[in-house]
Every structure is written in structure tokens, then in C-alpha cells.
Symmetry: C2
Subunit: 618 residues, 2 copies
């Protein structure tokens, strides 16, 4: 994987160009490599060997002196200590905050090693880094200093508390309430002080003993004087709610805040990440003589969702990249197995010779097909995630028009970066099981765990259906379709370059046809202007859109590979890495891209069946 990562970062994305930007001026290709080396090593030594353990010894509730605690294996503590010590929690932050001021694309590439080694153990760190970033963007100076900085060093970990038992995908229906705490609530050094009451569901890392404190970021509604709250997203505000109370110097005061563990969710996978139901302010741990958990508002009232979703693009790319890396882990495991497992004999014209020795199963065409599919899914997914991370960097540090363009393209591509790997790298994991056969179905091999872990990614951080509505209902129509037009321009530029390469021109033609079909379907979907009609087939649209984007990414990657192939050819040598990229691209165009026709058909004719199906017919 490292070779592919380096190829994508340097030969394809040319990340060295970022070094010319002031923000990254202290870096070099060498410092980038050192970060990757270091993360690869920590992941290999501290995470990968314990990934199965984190699954079998799943988080357990134990009774402590101050309520229930969650017990995790020692290895999880040690792995996360090593992660914190590496400085990666602050990888992209300013140097003056103790950060490394790395580009997002390098940060994501480095974190990919942890997702591959143990996505569940890595979860605590990803959440903490995201939590701290949010506070740095929207918190008061004291909130940044007290909460964010202690998260960046790994002294405290963080969570995101959005969902509630009765409100999963529909955040506007959350019922947690926040009321001003005392008449002096506005002059607390840690920010406007409130009392929160409510239940939060699916909170990853919501309870553990890895760190001395946990910093919860909580969405809640502030009722008006009449006790009523504003309906919809506008009624939602954001609060920072520490598990242990702290003073304005970041010292624990010894008071426990009223945040109580109400239960652990027992999951199909991702078991190493504790996932909790938390009760805020139920009176279990009365604090400072009042009722309700104490929280400090972040940002203005009613701005909670906006603040929370500030980091959404990066969070969704990270989820997509996590899905990719699970797929990658399965791909490598099944490739290794296929190379050493003897079974059966090749098909020949004269049938099979039962007396001949068995061959490694990688010699069977169907096994190679399954490995090729995995390669196309996971390397393509990795390329897409890195491309999007590179857009984050461009948006943050590029020149004005390029930065705006990057931001627009990022908005459009984020639902794909999140959803596509969640679906297809899960399929890669299933193929990895299939390559291993009965062994793949046992817990003696890692592939079944990857498959279980990966199933979450189509659900959390916005389900497939939510991503689809976001794409077709919002992103492709925003600004008069400017995002889609921009993507089309980029795709066409790739097609043009491919047209000048004898071996790639035909793929450019196929991509042009696919792009045309996608554009036409988008228009047809919205032809009546009725959202219910357009959006009834948003998910097939998302699937087709994703496959077109990946076909584009693969053709662009193949163009970068072509340079290496040409050099090797001129020297009468070989370039197996580049040849592999070209083969994976060919696989995608032969086996995958043609799927879009079936998906786009129903979109284009606004197939009414899902709307017209009646309950009693099921």
C-alpha cells in the first residue's frame, strides 16, 4: 500500500507543489515521508496486532466509585498513547498550537495507516481531532485554550453528541434542552453557561478511561421565554460539556458533571470503539447545587448545526477513507492468501489433469477477477479520498479563484467520497472472504472482521439515503448547477489528455458517454421540478454518480501511470506498479462503468414505483 500511496501523492497529485505555499514552507518531501513512516510504524506495532483483541474483548461496563465505567483492553490505551505522542492529533493545526501544520492530504494519508490497522481503535483519535478542530474554529479563546489544546495533546479525548434515540438522521427533532444557568450565565470564563437535559444515542467514545476527562460537544435546543423551542435546524445550538468539571486553567476541579452512561450499544463491528447512550442532566451526578449537566455554549444560539457541520466535509471524507482502508486491509489479506493457497488446477483445452499438482489459487481467472475488483475499489477509493483532501488544502491555501473552485468541487464530491467507498469497499471485503472460502468465514482470519466493521460506514455520518438526497437534492442544483459544470470541465480535461494516448483514448470516449448520460439523467430527474419525483431515485443516482467519478479518477490515475510505463518501455524495463494501475483502470471500465446504465434509467424516467407502492402491498 505504501508504494501506491506515494505514487498517488507524488506522481498523481504532485503534493510537492504545496511546499511553495507559505503555510507549508517549513515542510519538504522528506518531512512528509517521515510522518508517513512514523505512522506506518506505530500502526504496525501498536494497532494492527491488537485489532482482533479490540473486537473480541469488546468494551464492558464495570462499576466504579462514581458510577459505571467502561473497561477497554490495555492495548487500546497503549495504542492511543502512542498515537497522541506522535503528535498526529494536531497534525494539521498551526505550529503555534503545537501542531505540525501539515496539509490535509498528508494528514489523511498518514491516518490511513491507522484505519487499516484498526479502524475501531483509531476512532477515538479521529473524533478527538475533529472535536478540537471545531472548537478552534468556533470556540471562545478560553474554550480553545482549555478544551481544544488539551485535546490536541491527547490529555483529554472528545466526542460528538448529535443523535438521540428518537432522532437519528433527523437532527431537527432532537429534544435535549439547554437553559441559562443562573443570572451570571453569560460571564463564565468558559463561555455562556447552561444546564442541559436530554439523552444522546450512538455516542462513540462517550465513556472510557483512556483519558482523565472527556470533552462532549452536544447539540441542544434553547427554549424561549414561553418554554417553546424553534422548530428545525434554526433552533439548535452547540455546547461543550466536559465529563469532569474544569476551571479556566484546564485543571480538574474534582466535581463530576451530570453526564451519565446509560448503556453500551453492542454492535456488529467497530467493537473496539465504545458506543454509548448518554444521559445529560438526569440528576445522577448533581453538580454545583442545580439540576442539569453544565455546558458552555459554542458559537451563537441557533448556530449549532452550522458550527457542527463546519468540519463535515472532512469528517465525511475521513469516514470514506476509513471504509477504503478496511477494504485495503482485506485486499492485502486475500492477495497474500491467494498467492500461497494451493487448490485445483487451471482449465486447459483438454480438461483438467487430476494427477498434476495443485496451483496457487491466484492462477484461477475467477480469483484474479475478485482480486482485480478489490484493487479497483480500494485503490480507486484511496485516490478519491486523497483528491478530496487535496481540495481541502486548495480551498484553505490556494489563490482566490482556485480556492473557490476547490470549495465548490469539494461540496459536490463529499457525498461520493463518503458513500462510494462505504458501499464498494464493503463489497471488496465480501470478495476477500470469498477468496479465502471457508477460512474467510472463520475468526482465524481477519477478513470477516473487516467486513463487519465496514458495514457501519453506510450508516454513520449520514446514511446512504441522506448522502443521496444531499447530492441530487442540493449539490448538483446549487448555484445553478455550477458544481456539476465544474466537475464536467475537469472530467473533460482528463478525457482530452487521454485522447492523446493510444492506449487510453477509448476509455476517454467511454467516460465522455457516461458523463453525457449522467448529465441527461440529472436534467430529466428535475424536468418536472417536483422534488418528490426527482428524489425518489436519489440512491441509484448516487450510485451512478459515484461510478462516473471513479471512472474519471481511474483514467486520470492511469494517465499518471502512463508516464512511468513510457519511461520503463524506453529503458526496456518493466513498471509493475504502473502496469497494475492501468489494469485496475481497465477492469473498472470493463466491469464497473457499464453498470451506470441500469441506475440512470430509473432516474431519467423518474420511476414512480417507490412513491406509488402502498403499505398494504408489502
Amino acid at each position: 500500500m505504501r508504494e501506491t500511496l506515494d505514487f498517488l501523492l507524488h506522481d498523481w497529485l504532485d503534493v510537492a507543489t504545496l511546499l511553495q505555499r507559505p503555510r507549508f514552507a517549513d515542510h519538504s518531501r522528506e518531512t512528509f515521508a517521515q510522518v508517513l513512516d512514523s505512522c506506518e510504524r506505530i500502526a504496525r506495532e501498536k494497532f494492527a496486532p491488537f485489532n482482533r483483541l479490540s473486537d473480541t474483548e469488546e468494551p464492558q461496563v464495570v462499576q466504579g466509585p462514581d458510577g459505571e465505567r467502561v473497561h477497554l483492553p490495555r492495548a487500546t490505551h497503549e495504542a492511543l498513547a502512542a498515537y497522541a505522542a506522535s503528535g498526529m492529533l494536531a497534525a494539521a493545526q498551526d505550529c503555534e498550537l503545537g501542531g505540525m501544520q501539515l496539509p490535509c492530504v498528508i494528514e489523511m494519508a498518514a491516518n490511513a495507516f491507522f484505519s487499516k490497522a484498526s479502524v475501531a481503535m483509531g476512532g477515538y483519535a479521529m473524533l478527538t481531532a475533529g472535536n478540537a478542530s471545531l472548537l478552534l474554529a468556533h470556540g471562545t479563546p478560553a474554550q480553545r485554550e482549555v478544551f481544544a489544546r488539551n485535546e490536541l495533546t491527547g490529555r483529554w479525548f472528545g466526542t460528538m453528541c448529535l443523535s438521540e434515540p428518537q432522532a437519528g438522521s433527523s437532527l431537527s427533532d432532537i429534544a435535549t434542552r439547554a437553559v441559562a444557568d443562573g443570572s451570571d450565565f453569560e460571564v463564565d470564563p468558559l463561555g455562556p453557561r447552561y444546564r442541559l437535559r436530554g439523552n444522546k444515542m450512538w455516542i462513540s467514545g462517550g465513556e472510557h478511561e483512556i483519558t482523565e476527562n472527556i470533552v462532549h460537544l452536544v447539540l441542544a435546543k434553547i427554549p424561549g421565554p414561553d418554554g417553546r423551542t424553534v422548530a428545525g435546524a434554526k433552533g439548535i445550538s452547540l455546547f461543550v460539556v466536559p465529563k469532569q468539571m474544569v476551571d479556566d486553567q484546564g485543571r480538574l476541579t474534582g466535581e463530576r458533571n451530570d453526564v451519565a452512561l446509560a448503556g453500551l450499544n453492542h454492535k456488529l463491528g467497530y467493537r473496539g470503539t465504545s458506543n454509548t447512550l448518554l444521559n445529560f442532566g438526569e440528576g445522577r451526578f448533581p453538580v454545583r447545587g442545580g439540576t442539569g449537566a453544565i455546558g458552555y455554549r459554542v458559537g451563537a444560539p441557533g448556530e449549532g448545526l452550522r458550527c457542527m457541520f463546519h468540519m463535515m466535509n472532512e469528517a465525511r471524507i475521513a469516514v470514506g477513507l476509513g471504509a477504503v482502508m478496511l477494504g485495503y486491509a482485506g485486499y492485502e489479506a486475500s492477495l497474500g492468501y491467494a498467492r500461497q493457497r494451493p487448490q485445483g488446477r487451471p482449465v486447459t483445452d483438454g480438461g483438467k489433469d487430476a494427477a498434476a499438482p495443485q496451483v496457487p489459487i491466484i492462477e484461477h481467472a475467477d480469483v484474479r477477477r475478485m482480486l482485480l475488483a478489490q484493487k479497483a475499489y480500494v485503490e480507486g477509493g484511496l485516490a478519491l479520498a486523497l483528491y478530496c483532501a487535496r481540495l481541502v488544502d486548495e480551498q484553505a491555501t490556494g489563490e482566490a479563484p482556485a480556492a473557490a473552485e476547490a470549495g465548490l468541487l469539494l461540496e459536490l464530491l463529499t457525498p461520493i467520497a463518503k458513500s462510494w467507498p462505504s458501499e464498494w469497499c464493503l463489497e471488496a471485503n465480501s470478495l476477500a472472504i470469498q477468496v479465502l472460502g471457508g477460512y474467510g468465514y472463520t475468526r482465524d482470519y481477519p477478513v470477516e472482521q473487516y467486513w463487519r466493521d465496514n458495514r457501519l460506514n453506510m450508516i454513520h455520518e449520514g446514511t446512504h439515503g441522506i448522502q443521496a438526497l444531499d447530492l441530487l437534492g442540493r449539490k448538483v442544483v446549487m448555484k445553478g448547477g455550477a458544481g456539476l459544470a465544474l466537475l464536467a470541465a475537469r472530467v473533460n480535461a482528463t478525457i482530452q489528455r487521454a485522447g492523446q494516448q493510444p492506449g487510453l483514448a477509448e476509455h476517454g470516449v467511454a467516460l465522455a458517454a457516461a458523463l453525457q448520460k449522467l448529465g441527461a439523467a440529472t436534467k430529466s430527474a428535475w424536468a418536472t421540478g417536483v422534488p418528490a419525483e426527482a428524489l425518489a431515485n436519489a440512491t441509484p443516482y448516487l450510485q451512478a454518480f459515484g461510478h462516473v467519478v471513479l471512472a474519471w479518477v481511474w483514467l486520470d490515475v492511469a494517465l499518471a501511470a502512463q508516464r512511468g510505463l513510457d519511461v520503463a518501455l524506453a529503458a526496456s524495463g518493466e513498471a509493475p506498479l504502473q502496469a497494475g494501475k492501468r489494469a485496475a483502470m481497465c477492469y473498472f471500465y470493463a466491469y464497473e462503468l457499464p453498470r451506470i446504465a441500469a441506475w440512470l434509467d430509473v432516474v431519467a424516467r423518474r420511476e414512480a414505483l417507490p412513491r406509488e407502492m402502498r403499505d398494504e402491498w408489502f
Copy 2:
């Protein structure tokens, strides 16, 4: 599900016509219904409530006085006792053997309830019934009397011991040996007596204490005088090897045979079925003063695979039906959830009204799409399995030309009946998880277990790749393509009937085009006559073939539903069950059938990539 089952059996397959056949003359529509009622009740009371328990309390090895034993929950013992008491182990056997002489189609329909309630607990019974059937077909009178009859009553259970650690899909490479036991080996009342030595892997039900004895059917090779064995399938013979030795009256002699538990496989799913590695004749339990486990040959030497595969069509249909019923269980669970879970609001022209109450998620088009897909997969899969079971009955009890035709069609359809539900009802289980969202990912709901259980079905009883080679390499070319021609004739008959129905004619046209495309791709695949070229894309071919078969099945089912719809219309009433069948058919034609183009493209042009991909390019 019962309503759909009755509709398919009576309104579609018209199973009452079987009552005119001598073998089933003592039955009636009422006796068929009684069997279904009774199985439905036992499955509901004794299996379903303990399905999760059988997963969480997976089989454990405990030390017993005579070696390791496998402990199972008490509920598994009780469920299987109830199953045996129902007489279902001998459901299809002759009355004189204590059987019910039921048609295969009714036996399979009745067993479907157990697969739906707990596929893993039901596994022991399915294996035992298959084992007994095989002995009845190929055993000596004494083997039938001693072994098969005690299995039919549930006094003993049975296994199938085929695979070995070094030989999974490639049975010709098994290394277990059988040598004649003494000079009197041919005159043992239980059949020619041999000593077996070797290791058998993936043996379901290989050790347990549900019954006092376990009857293993074991494949092994008999070496010649030079110590060498015949290569390939022709060298394989079949043996019955009891765990506890018995006399010719079926009494336990008190001697333990040398069959030792070498370990349990810890699986992703199907955990309630113990799955074992067994050592035969390693000397752990020396028996009768010699070395090697004692086994009695069944059938002639070298005929082992032929005997074992005698029941293969039925076993494969049963695996497919098991996959269907897991899908069905998930469909019903997610449908129930979708009807009661409030979340979000419908999309309207004016956007969403956040103040309006939330609606049950079944009102969202995307949720209905996911439920429709599940319905199309699981009801279509059920229809296919029952159709194939009906072919088994036709082959066994029909008039000469019809029986031969049924046999031919059954040969062709078996790989589809096994593989299609394994793939698409697994997808149904994934959609069920998606409908439940985060809850679906937890062990508080059953859908994640169904998904785990179902993943096995693409692997055991012949992997997807093996089914694909069987279909394209053998079944469609056998007898000059007679099977495919017969299928085409049946499909065309359905198309013709659909052509006379205003609402169905267009689907008939689509099916005709699909059939034509399938036929053309079959010809192209074999155009060069080179097996390696034809078979490199056997799996996409299998997928496309399966979708065409299901489109045919659905159109034929819709024709049966049309009669009910016409009757209801004439009476100004409604026929929701039939309307649902029509909707599922429409779903299949709109969303599923168009997928075949992408699969058949690579088949038709004999896409060479899987053959040409080089190891070092991965």
C-alpha cells in the same frame, strides 16, 4: 410469509395436481396445510425464540470421560427433539419407512419455516435427512435398516464429511485413505469393512450430544496393491462411519470408534451449528484391536462422488432456500420496523415543514425502494426454490417425457437456485440493516445476525465460482444445449401468455430481449471453443443468467397474480397480496433486469483481463 407461500404453492404451482399421482394419493390440500401449520408452529415456538441464543452461546468444547465433547444450549436439544417428533426427518420418505410420502415441494416449503426461524439450529436436521436419503438410495439393506432408519426417527443424527484442510473445492485432492479391515472385510453384516485414516474439515454437526450416536458419511480413497490411489474423482469411495460402534440390530456395542474432535471452527455466523475438524483413525480411540476408524463402504469402490452427489440438486436447492429464508426474516423485521419508526418528514414542493410531526419511515420513497428490493429478492427466491422442488417431484413421479424434461431443467437451474439467493438475499439482509439504521447494526435487533449467517451460503455446498463453472462449463452445453433450449421454450411460453395481458405485455418484451441477449452471450463465450476463454467470466455469466431466470419467474408469478386482481376488480374489491406481487415484478423489471447488460458484455467479448492480469501487477 404464509400467505405468499400458499399463493405460490396453490395459485402459481398448482400443487393439488400432484394429488392425482399414486405416490401422493393419500394426501389432500388439507394434509399439506396441516404439515405447514405444524412446522410453522414448531418453528415459532421452539426455534425462533432461541436463534440469538444459539449465536451468542456458540458451541463449546468440554472435557468428557471419553474425549472432548461439544456443548450446545439446551434449547437446541429441545428444538431438534420437537423437529424429530414432528416426523419431518422422514417427510418425503416412503410410508413403509415411517415417512410421510410428501412431495418435495411441500417438504421444502415446510422446512422453510425452520430456516427462517433459526437456520443454524435447523442445520443438524437438514444434514441428517440428506444423509439418510443417501443411504436409502445407495446403502445395503442392512445399512438402510441400521443407519438410515435410526436417522429418520431422530435417534441418531448424520453428517457429510467431504472437505479436508488441503482440499476444499477440489475434492479430487482428498487424502483420507481406506484399507480393507481383515480378510473377512467383505462379509461384515454392515457392509464391506475398512479402516479409515485422515482429517476432515468444515464438518457441520460433526460433534454434539443431541443424539447418542453420529453417523458420518465419509469420502476416502482406497489404495491399490501398490499403495497408490487413482487420481481424480474416480479414485473416491464412500463410507459410513459411526461415532459409536453398533451391531447389525442398531444397538450400541459400547465401543467408541476412532473419530476424534480436533477442533471447532469459530465462524462469522451459523454459529448454532457446530462446525468441526475431525480426525479419523489417528489412534486416539483404538477400536477392535486395530488402527484406523472403522467404516463400511457404501456403493462400489470409486463410486463415492457419484453416490454423494446423488442428492446434490436437492441439497443445493435447500441451501438456496435457506438463503432465501434468512432474507425473508430480514425483510419482515425491517418492514415491521419501518411501519412503526417515526423519523423525518416527506419531501414536498415547499421543502419540509420542520414543525409537522414525523412520519413512519415507510413513507419515505427510499425506504420503500429498499423494502421493494427485499421483497423482489426474497419472494422471487422463494418462488424459484419451490419451482425447482416441484421439478424434483416431476422428475420422480411424472410421466416419461415430462419427467425427463423436469430432470434436464433441474440440472440447468440448480446452480441458479443455489447461487442467486446466496448473493441477492444477502443483499436483502444488508438492506434490512440499512432500513433500521444504527439499530440494525446492533445485536438488539435480529437483522445483523441474518446478514452474518447468510454470508456462508455463497461458500458452502459449492462456491459461487464453482456454480458458475458448472453452469457455463457444463450445464448450458450439455446434450448440445438441450437444457438451455428447454428453458428458452418455457420462458417463451410465459412471454406468450404475458403478451395477452395489457399490463404485462411490455415486461414480456423486455424478457424476450434479455433471453436473446443471454443466448447470444452464451454463443459468443464459446465461439472460440477454448474453455479458458469461455470460462474466465463465468461468474458474471452466472449473475446475468440468474437475473434472467428470476425475471421469468416473476413474470410467471405476476400472471398468476393477475387472475386474483381480475377477480377483485370484477367485484370492485382489492387484492393487496396480488397487487404486491405485481409491484415486486415491476420493481424487478425496472431496477434489476437492466443490470444484465453489464454482466453479459464481458462474457460476450470474452474479456481477457482476468486471464492476462499478472501476479506482480497486484
